[in-house]
């Protein structure tokens, strides 16, 4: 039995935003996280559940010359299956294909994955690699926030309870090669232990630009800026990628401190980074 709550199904975003101004209002889209919370009776008493799942205006995929614009109601399955995503953001397509189970992928949405803000959320490292930004709307106005500064702590973000994530914009990365690594205890229904999403732009065998984002490694998803700048201008090679992995692990420890899992995660993250960069370099060269 779920905890008691009130339910409303607004006809458009405008109405949803008015409803979200109520204290205790909680939006629901796919429900794969919220219904679990309702069953565990973990929400403050008698919330108002605002059902967004029928709002077609939040369910879109558009493309401009330099950007992919994604509606928050796109499901993981839709993103994994979309030729536009496979082509323009292959890291995101790969990440979505691995979320939970087929049933979860059919219901769970991109917006929900972002706003729920699990440190291990699968879509987040690819979004950071693409310098994504989020459009947040409330009854009072609209603002944009970079994905990189959106996540405060595990399950905590900059979004206010009266705001709705209405668009996710990804920068297209032309000429980049991509690499994706995910460590997990089992393939289905697993929660990632470590995620690395990497992208490399090469010029005559040298790295013009490197992008590395890590998930499940620190309290929030992060871009490994120190390793990225260190890689710029260097020649691709196993030794360079190995060293970059070590730098990323050091950044993880800076962020999370030395924890019980550090002796394990430090070398493993370094290895995943090396593998992701190897993959990215092979694609960028090819």
């Amino acid at each position: 039995m779920l905890q008691p709550f009130s339910y409303t199904c607004p006809k458009d975003t405008e109405e949803a935003l008015v409803l979200l101004n109520n204290a205790g209002a909680r939006p629901i889209a796919g429900g794969t996280d919220l219904v679990i919370q309702l069953r565990a009776k973990r929400l403050p008493s008698n919330p108002l559940v605002v059902d967004l799942s029928h709002l077609d205006e939040l369910h879109f995929l558009a493309e401009t010359e330099n950007q992919l614009k994604l509606g928050p109601l796109l499901t993981h399955q839709e993103l994994a299956d979309s030729p536009q995503i496979q082509q323009g953001a292959p890291l995101l397509a790969q990440a979505c294909r691995r979320v939970g189970t087929p049933q979860i992928r059919e219901r769970g949405t991109l917006g929900g994955n972002i706003v729920h803000a699990s440190p291990a959320a699968d879509t987040l490292p690819p979004l950071l690699v693409h310098d994504a930004f989020f459009t947040l709307q409330s009854a009072y106005g609209t603002r944009s926030l970079a994905a990189n500064s959106f996540f405060r702590a595990p399950y905590q973000t900059e979004i206010s309870s009266a705001e709705l994530l209405v668009q996710v914009s990804l920068q297209k990365l032309f000429g980049f090669g991509f690499g994706y690594q995910r460590l997990i205890r089992r393939q289905a229904v697993g929660i990632a232990r470590l995620i690395v999403a990497g992208a490399l732009l090469l010029e005559a065998g040298r790295i013009r630009e490197a992008r590395i984002a890590c998930g499940a490694a620190a309290p929030t998803v992060f871009r490994a800026h120190q390793a990225e700048s260190w890689l710029a201008g260097k020649k691709c090679g196993a030794e360079i990628f190995r060293k970059a992995g070590e730098l990323v692990s050091a950044e993880m420890i800076e962020r999370s401190g030395v924890r019980w899992s550090t002796p394990y995660k430090q070398p493993v993250l370094a290895t995943l980074v090396k593998r992701a960069l190897d993959q990215a370099a092979a694609i960028a060269n090819g």
């Binding site: 339910y7 109520n22 939970g100 229904v189």
Partner: protein, 162 residues
Amino acid sequence: MLNPLEQTIISLQLRVNGLPVQEDVPAQMTLLEFLRQRLRLTGAKEGCGSGECGACTVLLDGRPVNACLVLAAEANDAEIRTIEGEARDGRLTPLQQAFIEHGAIQCGFCTSGMVLSAQALLERNPHPGREEIVEAIAGHLCRCTGYVQIVEAIESVAGKGS
């Protein structure tokens, strides 16, 4: 402020196994509870209640979902298929028949969900490979068969027809 004693009642309209259904349900009711308690369609089971075991799987607009994680209210206007709607006029579907022939059923708790996820796969892709089959049932736990017979049952249907 909402009155804590006030229960939102939603008037629900949907199709279940091809038939129109109209019911007033409390907001708290999940799609699984609606199917089992109101419509007495008890083929879908509640296992874990958190989207991990797949025993509650039904098809919502042709796609497999965990009915324990969907609010009944969210299924408004939807087309739901449960295991009870698969056999027609007492005749099992080729997939159901294959489950029997391959010994893909033991206790039966996972079977309705397994069959529906596999059926959805076959409707999307009539000739899936083994990997796609395994992927399609990855959201179902079976504690009896070890999965091999289930995969073989689905494969036997995947190889046939156009």
